[in-house]
Each structure stands twice: as structure tokens, then as C-alpha cells.
């Protein structure tokens, strides 16, 4: 007797072939795409209507809406951006001051040769990060 798995496998392969052909035909049919798009657009309009009503209701009972929370989060995002900008400025200033210190001639010594100005600046102090405390795979989720 033949293996029933072979029979199932053949049946599956045939189904796959027919299914793939039908789906491929549909997804390349502009008329089908147009109709799908219309249906999707209508559902988006409905979603918008629903959300407008919910927002009105939440406002009427003095509750924060999704938009209010988004505004607060965006505000925090802008603050974080400014802090990082400041951090960047400090790093640049530190590097510059270290370069100047390195190039400053010691008391009583001859002025440094021009090539001395090319001495590499010291590295800026490493910034402490959550992952920097110990070596770990650089994975993990943020949220």
C-alpha cells in the first residue's frame, strides 16, 4: 500500500499550485485592486467617523484623548532631542578643549613644531549607557 503521506503531499502540492495561480492572477488584476482599494477606503472613512465621535465624547467628560497623549509624547520627544543636541555640543567642546590642551607648549619648552598640532585628540569620556555596564548581546526590545 502506498504511503498516505505521499498521497497527502501530492494533494497539497496540487492545491498550492492552483491557489498560487489564482492569487497571483487576482493580485495583478487592476480591476480587483481598484475594488479592494474602494472597500479599504470606505473602512478607513468609517474608522475616522468612529474616532471623531469617541474624541468628542472623551472631551465632553474631560478625559484626555489619543491626540492629547500623542501631543505630550511628542513634547517629551522634542525635549529628549534638545538634550541630545546639548550632549553633542558638550562632546564637541570637550574634544576641542582637549586638542587645545594637547597642543599648548609646556613652560620653558620651545614652541611646538607644526607637525605637533596633528597629534590626535584624546577620546571624549565614554558615555554611560544601559548596555555599557556589562557586555551583552545588543538585542532586546525597547517597548
Amino acid at each position: 500500500m502506498s504511503n498516505p503521506f505521499d498521497f497527502g503531499g501530492n494533494l497539497m502540492e496540487q492545491w498550492e499550485k492552483n491557489m498560487a495561480e489564482s492569487v497571483e492572477r487576482l493580485t495583478k488584476d487592476e480591476e480587483f485592486l481598484r475594488n479592494i482599494s474602494k472597500a479599504f477606503t470606505a473602512s478607513l472613512d468609517m474608522k475616522h467617523q468612529l474616532e471623531t465621535h469617541i474624541e468628542k465624547y472623551l472631551k465632553s467628560i474631560n478625559m484626555p484623548t489619543k491626540g492629547d497623549l500623542e501631543r505630550i509624547l511628542s513634547y517629551l520627544q522634542r525635549i529628549e532631542e534638545k538634550l541630545l543636541d546639548l550632549e553633542d555640543h558638550i562632546q564637541v567642546m570637550e574634544q576641542r578643549s582637549e586638542t587645545v590642551t594637547c597642543n599648548k607648549p609646556e613652560k620653558g619648552s620651545k614652541p611646538a613644531a607644526p607637525s605637533a598640532s596633528k597629534a590626535p585628540a584624546k577620546k571624549a569620556p565614554a558615555k554611560k549607557t544601559a548596555g555599557s555596564a556589562k557586555k551583552s548581546p545588543a538585542s532586546g526590545k525597547k517597548r
Binding site: W15, E80, Q95, R143
Partner: protein
């Protein structure tokens, strides 16, 4: 009784008895073992949830390259990996991944990791992880992601490496982002590696048809959802090449007794189903500027009021693409060399598909080797 209970309930002795009773061939026993393992896999995968956390990635041995978070901004992180190989090469590499799915496809498993391959070759590798966008990121476009986040990452890496221009690596849409970055600030980069990357979007496969202006309005979708939910964004992907999607389980069934195959499949499947929302404003800009108007290739795209000028790129580019790629067809990828008129472009075509070029053995090893060989020739 559910069908898979049959296989769980069957002992080896019972299978042997059935084989003799019905005079099945010897393959029947193997198929029973396959079926049992397949059902176990389905049950296991149904429990894993929509998004992978660190514990799950660790259990799958995924994203294991040692490194640390250099800094984070919003949901984005700049990952800094350890350099394994010696001597350490002078030009660091910044890898940029797409907004679709997550970055760890480039650091899949030990021995199967692009990051590891570059690190073993002596390159200091950084990875820009766009994170998991939330509602607060819905209105942030390329102005923010490229000119703020990516630019800051580039500047910090350059500062750390005494001002050395860096090599930029981009995969898929990440490559398009890398191209945009290089077009915006060519002075920051020593070279670009573009892996299955579209820069010219005319006739760029089925996605060009699906995003046709006539029946696809990205602004309407973005305005309705804020960030485009992963369920909406990923629903059409299996339909891009339906034969692959429907055959996936059969191919798994046939190979499920191969432990190495199964381990690799689990990791890739986890990545493929670990979807993230797409920032709404970026979605609008990307579809309109790239797929619908082809502004990037035409040179009319602007980010933060600055022109994205691909002709300004004069440093060498490595263009890697796949012959059977259904997401970025080879015709689209080949055009990169024509668009980057002032960049000496080296192209390599591999006879595989979009994902196989990154994770499929033995092509991936060839891709790593070609990339390292190119990077070794780049001068600061």
C-alpha cells in the same frame, strides 16, 4: 479528536504495527516522525506571541553578537558591536536596516550573522535600530529619522573615530535610506554597500502596481492610523509571491527532521513574524517620493529642505542584488549603477531570492566575502 493528537498518541510500536498491517513503505515511519515534530512546531510557534522579546531571542540564539547600546533617541538605538578580528580596520561600518521588521536579520545567529562576518574581518560595526515606533512617531518623517537620528548617529561615530568618514551599509529599504543619507551628506561617507536596494522605482515589481496613485493613497492610510499597524502593512506581503507562502509549511514538513534546517527556519520565521508599525509620515513620504513619483532617482526629492542628490555621491558603491528577488527585482537593482553616475559602482548578482541572499547558506558566505573584499579596498 484533533488530527495532531493522532501523532502524539502514537507510540513507536503502534506506528510499527500500522506499517506492517497496511504494508506501508519504510518512509511512512519517517513521515510519522515528521508529522509529530511538525505539530510540535506549530504548537510552539502559536505560543510565541506577535513580538519577540530579549528572552525569546536568547532562547532562539538570535541576535547574539556582543555589543552595547551607544545611545538611544526616541525609540531608536545605535548599537555598537565588539570587534572580533584583528587588526581593527580604520573605517567603521554603520548598518541601516529598513522600517519593516527588525534589524536582527543582519545578526541572525552565531555563525549566520552578517554583523559577525564583518566583525571577524576586523570592522567596527554599528547598527541603527529604528525601534518600535509608537503613536508619538506618527508625524515624524525623513526630516526626523534621517536628518536627526541617522545624522546624529553618523556624527557620533565619526567623532569617536577621529573624524574618519564611515562606510554605510543598507539592506532593502535600509539601503534606500543609506542612499538618501549619502545623497544628503556625501562628505560623511567613505563608501556605500547596498544590499537588494531600490533607488529607481520605475517598474519596481508588483509593489509599483500595488502603490499606483490611481488606487493607493498613502496619506489617507497614514492619517487614519498614525503609524501603519504591522497587521495592515504585512497583510499583502505573502501575496507578493503566493507560491512561496503556500509552500512554506510543506517545505518545512519535508525538512523538519534536519535539526540545523529547523533551527535556522525558527530564527528566520521569528524574524519574519516579528513585525513593527511603520511611522505614518515616513510611509507617506516614502510611497509618494519613491514608488509614486520616483523623486529620489529624478533628483527632486528633498529632506529637511535639503536636496537628496545621488549624483553628489563620489565614493565607491557596492551594489549586491538577487536574480529571483520579488521585492526588489534585479532590473530595479541594476539601475543603481546608472543612477550613481559619479560613484564607481561594483555590482554583484546572486542567483537566489530576496531573503536567501542574506540568510541562505552558502550564498550568504559569498555575499559576506564580497562585502569584506570591497570594504578592504575602500580608502578613508
Amino acid at each position: 479528536m484533533l488530527p495532531w493528537r493522532i501523532f502524539w498518541g502514537y507510540t513507536d510500536g503502534m506506528i510499527e504495527a500500522q506499517t506492517q498491517k497496511f504494508a506501508f513503505d519504510g518512509k511512512f515511519k519517517d513521515d510519522c516522525a515528521r508529522a509529530k515534530r511538525f505539530m510540535e512546531y506549530l504548537q510552539e510557534s502559536s505560543k510565541r506571541g506577535n513580538r519577540a522579546d530579549e528572552a525569546q531571542l536568547a532562547s532562539l540564539n538570535v541576535a547574539r553578537m556582543p555589543g552595547k547600546v551607544m545611545y538611544s533617541e526616541g525609540g531608536c538605538r545605535l548599537l555598537e558591536y565588539e570587534v572580533i578580528g584583528r587588526p581593527v580596520k580604520p573605517i567603521p561600518v554603520l548598518m541601516m536596516y529598513s522600517f519593516i521588521n527588525r534589524w536582527y536579520i543582519l545578526d541572525l545567529q552565531p555563525g549566520h550573522s552578517f554583523v559577525e562576518a564583518l566583525s571577524r574581518a576586523g570592522y567596527q560595526v554599528y547598527m541603527l535600530d529604528w525601534g518600535i515606533p509608537g503613536p508619538e512617531h506618527a508625524t515624524l518623517g525623513f526630516d526626523y529619522y534621517l536628518e536627526k537620528v541617522a545624522r546624529r548617529a553618523v556624527q557620533r561615530i565619526r567623532r569617536k573615530h577621529k573624524g574618519t568618514p564611515i562606510s554605510l551599509f543598507g539592506y532593502c529599504l535600509g539601503g534606500t535610506l543609506a542612499g538618501m543619507m549619502a545623497g544628503l551628506h556625501p562628505e560623511d561617507f567613505a563608501s556605500q554597500v547596498l544590499l537588494t536596494t531600490p533607488l529607481d522605482f520605475t517598474n519596481a515589481g508588483i509593489l509599483t502596481l500595488w502603490t499606483n496613485k490611481e488606487f493607493f493613497d498613502p496619506a489617507k492610510i497614514a492619517n487614519a492610523f498614525g503609524c501603519i499597524p504591522e497587521e495592515i502593512l504585512h497583510a499583502p506581503f505573502p501575496l507578493m509571491r503566493p507560491q512561496d507562502s503556500v509552500a512554506k509549511n510543506r517545505v518545512l514538513f519535508n525538512n523538519i527532521l534536519n535539526d540545523e534546517y529547523l533551527q535556522n527556519f525558527k530564527a528566520v520565521d521569528r524574524w519574519a513574524t516579528d513585525n513593527v508599525p511603520f511611522p505614518g509620515q515616513v510611509f507617506k513620504e516614502f510611497i509618494a517620493d519613491c514608488y509614486q513619483n520616483n523623486s529620489l532617482a529624478k533628483g527632486s526629492m528633498r529632506v529637511n529642505k535639503l536636496p537628496v542628490d545621488l549624483t553628489a555621491i563620489r565614493t565607491p558603491t557596492l551594489n549586491l542584488f538577487a536574480t529571483h528577488d520579488h521585492v526588489v527585482p534585479p532590473n530595479t537593482a541594476r539601475k543603481t549603477a546608472e543612477i550613481l553616475v559619479n560613484s564607481p559602482t561594483e555590482s554583484h548578482e546572486y542567483p537566489v531570492g530576496h531573503l536567501t541572499v542574506t540568510v541562505g547558506h552558502p550564498i550568504r558566505e559569498q555575499v559576506w566575502s564580497d562585502t569584506v573584499s570591497f570594504l578592504d579596498r575602500v580608502k578613508a
